[in-house]
Each structure stands twice: as C-alpha cells, then as structure tokens.
Symmetry: D2
C-alpha cells in the first residue's frame, strides 16, 4: 500500500538520489521532477538515473524562457538587490521551480512534494512558501528536517554508504570543497565544511573569468529597453545582436563572463536570522542591473523614482524571503510594472576586466532637457526663482536657529 | 561709503575673480575666502591675485582634515549614495566650505556672503542653506542670479573682456571643453556647452587612471574600522600603513586612482527638478564605500540594518539637497552614528582595473557564527523549528489562496 | 490695449472683488470664475456682482460631484491624513478648482490666471502647481505677492476704502474675528489677527453642532463600500438611504454635523516651513475615514496594508503640498487604487456626541476566518508550528544576547 | 526526581491553576509568579491558592511603576499605534512581565518558564521572545502547544473536571461570554466561542463608562510634558494634580473612564498572519496619545517629524510582534527618545462623552512664530520668495507635461 505520491525536486546529484530511494523505502510513489533553469547538466543521464532508481515518472522541464521572462525580468525592472549587493539569482529561481512542481503535483494527483534543501537555509522557505501559496493543501516532505533522516545521514560519508548499498551511482570525484547552486542567472557557492570569513575563495568561479585573465579590450554593447525590460542587445563592434529574452540574457552572460563581471563575496542575513557567507557570480544580471538603473534614472520622474526605490527594497526582501507568491509581492510587482511604462531607450556600455561602464544613453521618453539644464542658455527658466526657492526652504532652518540661540542664551 | 563687507567664496579662477572686482564696483568691501579642501591649486598665487584685485583681506584656509572627519566620515558611516550611484563628493564639501565662510563673516562683521555658483545648479542651494542655517541674518549676493550681472556676462567672452579691462589676469589656455569641481573626495566634470548624452566623455579624468592603462597586478589593502569609520589602512604587500583620517583618505585616493576606481557617468535629478549629467571620479570614496558596506553587514543586526538603510537614503537626499545643517539631518546623523557602535573590524580587499573586490573580513563584533550556520554541525538549532516557521508564514498565504479560489469559483 | 485676459478665481468676497477691479485697472480683461464646491454662497448674487464690477465673462461652475468623485474619493481610499490629524479638506479642493480654471483659460484663450490666496499660505502653492502642471505656459498673477498690491492694501481697512471708492459693494457686517474656507468636505477656520495658541476657539463652528448640544441618541449608519469607496449609506433606524456620491457625502455631513463629529484644533506644518494653527470641522469626512479604515483592515492583506499605509502617508503629503497633478501623485494614486480592489463590504457604525463607533462589518471579501482564529476549534492549524516560528524568530535575538554577554564579560 | 524548576506566569484563574498542577504531575517543581500590572485581582487570595496547589514558591510582584515608566512612556513618546488604531496595551505589558519572570528564573536557578497563552495568539510570541532574548538558554513550556495537554483539555469543561478532581478551586460563576486581559493600560476583550463580526459587543466594558451614560459636563485637564513624557496632570476646574508617573496614568484612566474615552472594536492582523477581532478600552492611553501628538507637532521640526513618524510605525510593529527586546527595537527606541528632547510644554484638553478635544498648547520650545505666520505682519518674510519657490517646484511638473504633450501629439 502506497502512502501516496510525492513529486520530488530532483537534481540528479547524490542528495536527491538518496532522497528518492529513501522516499520509496518510506512507502511513497515518487515522481522525479528536474527543472532546466539553465544549469549545466546531462538531463538525459539524470532522467535515466531517476528511472533506474525507481521513479514512477520523470519530468524534465525546460523552464529557461519562463525563468527569464516571468522572474528575472521583474527583478530587472525593480533593480532588485538584497542588502545592497546580492542580485537574488537563487531566490528568483525557487518560485519558478516550485510553480511547475506544484502544477505537476496537481496534474498527477500527488498530495506530497519533497525537496533536498537543508534545514538552515533560505531555499526551503522559498520553495515551501511557493508550494503552500499555490497548492495550500499540499503536504511537504523535507527530509533534512526529519530526525530519522538527518540523524541517519549525518555527513556525506553516510550518504555515500547508503548509495552504495542501494545501488545509487556514486560520484567518483572527491567531494569539492565548495558546493554550488547554478542557474541561468548566477552560480552561488557555498563551502560546506569550513566557513571562515577571513580569507577569500580560491579560484572556484565557473561562469566568469578571473578579471586578471580577461581580455585586454572591452566589448561595447547597446541594450535597448521597453517597459523596463531589455528587448535587444547589440555588440557594437561585432554587429551581432539578440532579441529574444532567453537569447539576450544568455548573450549578456557570455559577454559578462568573458570579462569577469559580477563576482561578489559577501556576508548576508538569511531569512531565519543567521548571517551566512555567499559567493556569487552573476555576469549578465550585473550588466543588466547597471544598464537598467541608467535608463530608468534617465526616463523616470525624480519623485516617482524615490517611491519606486523604496518599493524595490521591499520587493527584494519579499523575493529573498520566499514571498514571491504573496499578496504583497503581487501588489508591489504591479506597482513597479506601472512605474516602468516610460522606461524605454538604449544604453551603451563597455564591459572590461570585471567592470561595466555606462557610455551613453538615449530615449524617446528622455526627461533630460539640454536647453533647460544648460549653463549658457536661459531656456524657460528664471534664475531669480532660485532665490525664492532657497529662501523659502531656509524659513524653517533660520527659525530653528533662532530658537536654538534663544535657548542657548537662556542657559 | 561702503555698502558693507562681503565674504566671497573665491576660487582664484576667472569667474570669482570677476565677481570680486564687480562687487567692489558695486560698492562693497570684499574679503576673499579660499578653502583648501584638497583641490589642486597654487594657493599662494591665488592669494596674491586676490590682494592685487583689491580684496580687503584674504583667507586661505586648510579645511582638509575637517572635511574628512566632519563630512566624509559621516557619509561613509551612512553608505551615503544619491540615486543609487553618486557618492556626493561635491554635496558634502559645500557645508564644509560654507561653515567656515560664515565663521569668517561673523568674525569680520560682514553682513554679506557671496559665491560664484550658477542659478540652475545644486551648489547655490547647498551653499546658501548652510549660510542661512548658521547665520540666519546673513544677506547673500549670488551674482549669477542678479539680472544686471548675468545679462552683462552672457558667456565666457564677456567675462574675458571684462577681465582684460579691469586688469584681471586672464587664463592663457583655451577654455577646456569641460569644467570641473575638484576636492579631496572627487572631481565632478560638467561640460558647459554641449550636453548630449548619447556619447561618453573623451578621456578627461584626472584623479583616476584609465582602467585599460592601470597596472596588471592588484593592490591588496586591509582597512580597519572603529565605529564605522576607518582608523587604519595597510597595503598588505608593501606593508605600508596610514592611520590619520586625512592620510587614510589620501592614500585610498592614491591607490584607487592608480587602478582607475570610481568613475561614473550618470544622469541625476537636481534639487530644482531638472535632470543633468554628472561625470564623477571618486577613487578613495568608492573603495571606502565598498569596504564599509562589507564590515557593516558583517557586524550589524539584520533588522537594524534595514532601518538604517532607509535612514541612509534620507540622509543622502538631505545632503544632496543642501540640508546638511538642518534639524532632520542632525537627527538622522545622530541615529546613524548610534547604529555604528559595533561596526568594527578589518576588511581585506583588492583593487584592480577599476574594480574593488572584497577578499575577507574579521571583527571582534562579528555576528557570524560558523557553527550555527554550518550544514554539518547542528549547533543550538533544531531544523524542525523551520517547519513551524514556514507553516506559520504560510497561514496567510494559504488563506489568501483559499479566498481567491472561492472568488474564482463564484465567477 | 488690453494686456491680455485673466481668469480670476473669484469668491464674491471683498478680497477677490477688489482684485477683479484692480486687475482691470492694471489693463487686463478679467473673466471671473466661481466654483461651487459646496460652500454656502448666493451664486447668482456673486455673478451679478462680478458683472457689475466689469468682468468680461462670469463662469459659475457646479463642481460638487466631480469634487466628491475625483478628489474626495481617492482621499478616502488612501485614508489620507496629514500629520496624523488633518483630513485635507482644503488641500483636495484646490486642484479641483484649479483644473476647471485652467480649462476655462484654455478655452477662452486667456494667458493669465489669478487668485486671492495670500503669500504665506499653502493654497497659493496648491493652486499654482495645478495650473503650471496642466497649463505650463500660463502666467500667474498673485496680487498678494506683488509689492504694488500688498503695499497698497496693508489691511482690511485699505481694501474697504478702495471698495468704497470703486463702487464695490462692501460687507455691512463687522469683520469676523475668524476667516474661513468652506467647501463640501470641511470648513477651515483661520484667525487673521491674533494667533495665540494657548486658548481654544470660541464657538465658531458652522458645519458641526457643539457635541454638548448634540442629540442624546446616536444615529446608526451602514455604509457600503466597493473598491474602497462608499456606494451606499443607510440610516438603520430611519431606513433612509443614499447612493450617489454627492448625496452620500452630503448625508454623512448632515449626520456628522448633527452629532458634532470632526472638530479638530491643531498646529500643522505648512509647505513653506512655518507652523500654523488650523481649526477644522470635517463631519462626513471623519465618518468615512473611520468606516473605510475598518473595512480596509478587514479585507486587505496584512502586508499589503503596511505598504499601502506608507504610500498613503506620501500621498497625503503630496496633496497637502500641492502636488495633486504630478507624476508621483499619479503613480501613488494608481497604486492605491489597485490596493482597493477587494475593499468591499458594509460597515455599521453609530455617531454620537462627536464620536464615531464602529459596531460591526461584513464583506464577501473578508479575510477573517472564524474557525482559523477560534480558541476552541483547531481548524487547519497546528499549534506546534508556533513553537518553531517563535524559536526561529529567536535565533537572531539569542545570538545577539550571546555576543553581548561575551562583550560584557570581556570588559 | 524533579525534572527541574519551572517559573510559571500564573494569573490565579482556572487555566494557569490547572497548568500549575499539571506541571507538578509532569514532574516539575513549580514557582508561581504573579505580576501586578494594574489588573483587578485579590493578590493575597491568589498567593494562598498557589501555595495550596503545591507551588514551591510564589512571587507576587508589583510592577505597576516600571510598567508605566519603562513600557508605557516609550509608547507615548512614539505615539505607538498598531494598524492606525490599537494602542498596544497588551503588547507593551508582555515584555514587562517576561523580564521579571526571567529575573526570577535566573535567581531561583530555574531552567524552565511556562505560561498559559494559547497557541494561536500574539501573547505566546511576545512572552517567549522576551524570555529567549533575556535568557537565551531558557526552556519554555507552553502547554497549549503540547498535544498531550491540548488534546486532554479540549474545552473549559475538561479543565473544570480536572480542577474538581485535583482539588483546584473552581469559579462558581458561569463562564463569561467574553474573556479579557486587563492591565493598567487597557482591557482587551476576546469572545471565546462565537466570533461573528457583524454585531457589536453587548455592553461588556469595565474601565470605561458608556458614553451615553457619561457626565454631561466635560473635565478639563492640563498635561505637562518634558522629553515627550507627561510629568504632571492638573484638573483645571478641580485644581487637583498628579505628578508621579503611576499617579498620572491612573488619574488619566479615571477621567477617561468616567467619560467613556478609548473604546474601539477592530479587526487586526495577528503576528501569525490571521485576522482577529479585538475590543479594547484604553482610557488614559487615549488621552495621552492625543495630548502627546499635539505637543509633539507643536515643538518638533516638520522634517524630523516625518522621519520619526516612520520610525514609530516600525516601533509599533516591533512591539506588537513581540520584539521589544531586540536590537532593532533598542535602536528605534533610542532614536525616538532623541527626537523627544524638545517635546516639552503644556496641553489643555477637555474630555467629554468618549472624546478628547485639544483646547490649546504652550511650550518654551514652541516652533510656532506668530509674527511669521500672521497674515497682517510681514515679519522676516518676503512673499515674493514664494513665487520663486513655486516656480522652481513647477519646473519638473511643466517639463513632465511638455513631454506628455509631445508623446500625445505623436500618437
């Protein structure tokens, strides 16, 4: 008698392979679900492996286009960045994966979903809040939070032994000193054992070249935006251009990676309140972040920008904390989308040795008025007005000073 | 009969030299005041020139140390940045200059102050609000907003002619296509005539090398912070170190400049509501910004950080808009200073080809707990708690979904 | 030769009558425009008077319905309140009047608009920013800021003398000790001469009864909302109901006024930075404010509410400061409207002796789940989850304490 | 063998009496702790009862003064209010009780604390976060979240039976239809069984008279503030005055209660994400809230006020959610205290039929300048400045309109 059907977010690696087998041992039917969100993977091999391990069904789903359009693009519109530095590459991928997993679970009549995320991290939260929001009756099996599981598998050695006993193919390479989470947007590096913060990582990066080894000549790109999202990228020198979302983002990854753009090594605050170290490489995302910031400031009203900036900080926190599918995130996303109606135009930039330099911008919606700002042309502007403006702004400051002086004199 | 005494913020250049003479013509006694805030200048020559032009007195004041300690340091503590990009190098200098100018005016019994800032810019506002706040009864003469002045001097040519007639030494070099504002923190470049935005600047930078020509080997620095301000910088390879504020900042400028760090070309929103282009180079400030952000996130509580982040955005706007000396800026500065009590420790970073890379950090106030965050060690943490945490966070989301489904079914 | 045509915001009172004649003296053709926004006024008499004084044309426009629907309703949706107390009754009226005035000016080919607002107040700003935003080329004549005007008319006595000379009908009543600004939403009282703050107003109120004299029995109302705006009000006991915007609001004024609701006496901060005293009576607006707050909290998601609350504070400041017609106000209004999609249902309340008491509420969009919140029914809720929730929230607090103890022990 | 010692937050009522006995049954030594925070209670009888039930020790602690000074006063300084309506009377009491409970636990060497709060409410969170923050190693026993407990006691009937068997004195009165939580600041009413929202409460209030039955003559009070907290209250007519914190607050409760001030019936959002109904009566707190708001606006700079307002909203959320003892609450409290330095002066108000009317205010720190604001006196103010101020503010709006017109024309 089966306890029911579980849709397992399966990666093909050691952990989720063991979980697949363990779930079957516990009496569940297991459907393996592997999302292609741009990571390097032999998907066919992974499929075969899942079938061999006893998965009732295997779904390999190419989510790359929807990942770009439905998740990365809104983050670009928002200039989404967590704690001033992290571009949220993992955080935006989780709701994308979870959404499809839940669709499969509903379609296949599965009451359970499962995943291999650890019990101390953010991903369990992002994943599960997505599932609960979209499939409220779902039951979630998180083995790394189940004592029978985590007490049995206290380290990689235990998993390896289990794998060998159960006929799970075991990776022949020695364990890397760093684990990673890769997708189209970025790679996140986590070192499992030693987490000392006082030394930088050895050269572990994959998506990006070491800036020291990057080309000595910049690439110059022009990115065209409509409604705050890129619709075309052109390599000025080479004349090459891309205009579908997935191609645009992939090409920016290629150029950014070639020039070593988007590496950061930070300490961040996890949802559950502990600080952790994150090492990220986000080549294309970093280029887009800078380009979007530029065209946005060029075309968006100053005061709208201030409000949108505050909303974006909220939005970034919602994403980081796993609340992509929530009323508040829906609301803020709607507002941000509204703010992007005039964010249109072209940004030219050069990419070189880990840096992105904005070279220029132009837009049919530009709010920049050369004549108005010129020092030599008066334009429709009377400098005398500025005197009144300043003096009125000073009313409060002068009054404040007057009262302070009175107070000081009394003492 | 003198109309009274004016303290003129005098730079030694063509504009303020003409203003000096013009003010005398209008019947004022003029005291020339030239602040040394780190710009390249032959101060002795400027002094002599002012005397020759008829200044009653000339004050040349070295404000570099107080500029760093009283103005740049608070901006560092705040991670002050305007519209996500501009580090406020000009904006923090104005209240520093204005404060001394007003002290001189009070001491010398001058009822007037004057400056050469234009009528469309931010600096007039920053300068005058400082004066009004600290010397509420002062009268301000802003020639570029006085019709008799600006109608008479409609371009550089008019100023040159006037200079020649009045015996004012005229610069022999042809007018640079870009004007600039330089101080210890940065150089701002403004192109007077043509302000087209679609092309990047020719190579006009002075404080920073072109990253393409920068050294092929990084410099590695260690910056030590106490109360959120740097107290020591050490060049790891060379062993060199600095520990006074002015020396620290100057050294960071030197290293940043050598590696081409801190160049930006942006469109920004001026106080008076127009967009303008700013090209800035802020080498040392950029290094400090990144280093401080890192040590702060490492040592500051997550939720305190969120509140402080919002306060810093306000603080940056106050500075940009000229409200350094205001009750709200005082208040926010006080709060930010409070937030920095535990921002202490050392950050290691490398500087290379226009980029700053954080390599590591350590602190006696670190809130990072290796054991707590480790994937292999449980620490004082029960993974089961995360299930409850997630499920409670999902209560609202599931309820929302339930009601939406009800609504959808009704339709 | 006429200097051009001016559309004057004319009230029929002494000030704007004198301005009408003065403008003609200055060489302008004057079109008088009198908006009916619900104030008590003999509009026909005012029209006749304007014609007699030489107005080229007179427009009397009934703006009451659009005032309610286009200006008061958005304020209700926002729970708009300035500095925690002022419901913005004057501030929302200005853009309503200004919009029509500008329409008339455009239609009549007038290059000028004029008004009688003083040079120290908020209304000049609200009025003129509306005009500039909607008719950027317009020229504004604000006599109370023109030295020839305000030096000539230094007090009411000068205006009276001028009126007598020019055949302007002079009010026979002695000047009231308080001036007022009345519209459908409220009356604002301003005392022209003595502004001492330490004594309350004598009984000057017009829209509201003194609570001490109000009925000893409450009225009980039910207000129905859709999209955050009232669509029906019913007097439960009397069975009477209203369902057009203007009727609803007028009826709430009637009931609120009868029970002395909505009187406040406050000090507020004007746009131009000085503090002033405002005495307001806003009977219907106060009832609606409380009712809307209640139905909104009942039907809006908790976290959406927090964001909307912050947006509403901004919105209120924009309105107060005259920026109704601005990109930021458009943007925020759009966001707030979006937030109101589910704000639907009925609120029952009683109105009694100056107070509004919410008695109950119900809604098809209620987010309240009796079973979920019940202490006796478990519902779909596991109390054990709360333990995990609390312990995860405590991770950061316990860690903070641990580090503080370490620090304390070191000292 | 004892499992250890538990300090139980004991109220003397049925629930915590049963918990006391149940804890002993489970093998714990129990110390009963009963905090006097102003609720009506026969403390001696409660003590005797606890001893009779087998408590090892009983602590009855009078925390009223520290409750006022350490918890209510900061809330007054902040104008703390949750979701625009709830004055946080229960939320500020929890950390006060928890702090002492933890002190007792430490002193008595108890490793455990326990309480009778339910598993769906806010109080469990407020209580436990306080304990974890101040005593991180503590273990918490929350019976209403322990299945063996809550499955055994599924309703009041089960508790009654248990009480009878164990010799616990059983209340003779039938169960009230509403339970309550009372302290010096307020009474919160919760109806255990039926929570329908569409009908108002029967007259259950205890601290406040029904406004309909309240006196027909107002009381007029003068409250004096220093540093944003009341230091004296005087009944103007009766001449009576109080000047210690506890006496001041108690007297305001008396007057407020007599006139039916501070009743609200709201739906609020609990920390754990569900909406619940709260009926509160907060007589003295409501008077103080209005008085403080008034003196604060009178004496605080406009822009400081805006920042402080945002901090207060945060502060209120922290308190509501149980984070009184947290780094962020410490930080914000520090900032708010700083903001109160000039909040000094006297407010006169009348209290009548459920309402508080501000009559006047005066302060040595008043920022109100009668001459500056007067319509008849120019003061040190030039009305012409306002023209410049408005025109500069319009630069952006006119530019926006220009571009919109261009766009419209293109279409």
């Amino acid at each position: 008698m089966s306890k029911g059907t579980v849709v397992l977010a399966y990666s093909g690696g050691l952990d989720t392979s063991c979980i697949l087998v363990w779930l079957k041992e516990q009496g569940y039917d297991v459907i393996a679900f592997l999302a292609n969100i741009g990571q390097e993977e032999d998907f066919e091999a992974a499929k075969k492996k899942a079938v061999d391990l006893g998965a009732k069904k295997v779904f390999i789903e190419d989510l790359r286009s929807e990942f770009v359009e439905d998740f990365i693009w809104p983050a670009v519109q928002a200039n989404a960045v967590y704690e001033d530095r992290y571009l949220l590459g993992t955080a935006v991928a989780r709701p994308c994966i979870g959404r499809r997993q839940v669709e499969i679970a509903r379609k296949e009549g599965a009451q359970f979903v499962s995943h291999g995320a650890t019990g101390k991290g953010n991903d369990q939260i992002r994943f599960e809040l997505t599932c609960y929001a979209l499939y409220p009756e779902v039951k979630i099996i998180a083995p790394w939070r189940i004592p029978e599981f985590y007490n049995r598998f206290q380290g990689r050695k235990d998993l390896m032994e289990y794998a060998q006993k159960r006929g799970i193919p075991v990776p022949v390479t020695p364990q890397a000193p760093w684990s990673m989470d890769a997708n189209l947007m970025h790679i996140r590096w986590v070192r499992p054992h030693i987490l000392e913060l006082s030394h930088g990582p050895a050269d572990l990066y994959l998506m990006t070249k070491n800036p020291e080894d990057a080309p000595n000549t910049p690439d110059v790109l022009e990115i065209e935006f409509t409604n705050g999202v890129p619709v075309k990228v052109t390599n000025i020198k080479e004349g090459q251009s891309k205009d579908s979302p997935l191609e645009i983002f992939s090409y920016l990854n290629e150029i950014g990676g070639k020039h070593g753009v988007g590496r950061i090594d930070i300490v961040e605050n996890r949802s559950i309140g502990m600080k952790s170290r994150g090492i990220y490489e986000t080549p294309g995302g970093t280029i887009l972040f800078k380009a979007h910031l530029d065209i946005e400031t060029f075309t968006m009203d100053k005061e709208v920008r201030r409000i949108k900036q505050a909303l974006s900080i909220k939005f970034s926190e919602f994403i980081y904390n796993g609340f992509w599918y929530s009323p508040e995130c829906d609301f803020v996303r709607h507002c941000i989308t509204k703010s992007q109606e005039n964010v249109q135009g072209r940004v030219q930039l050069s990419v070189f040795k880990g840096q992105v330099y904005i070279l220029g911008r132009e837009s049919p919606k530009s709010l920049y008025n050369e004549e108005l700002v010129s020092m030599d042309v008066q334009g429709d502007y009377d400098p005398c007005d500025a005197s009144g403006f300043i003096r009125i702004n000073a009313v409060r400051l002068r009054e404040h000073h007057r009262l302070q002086s009175l107070a000081d004199n009394k003492q």
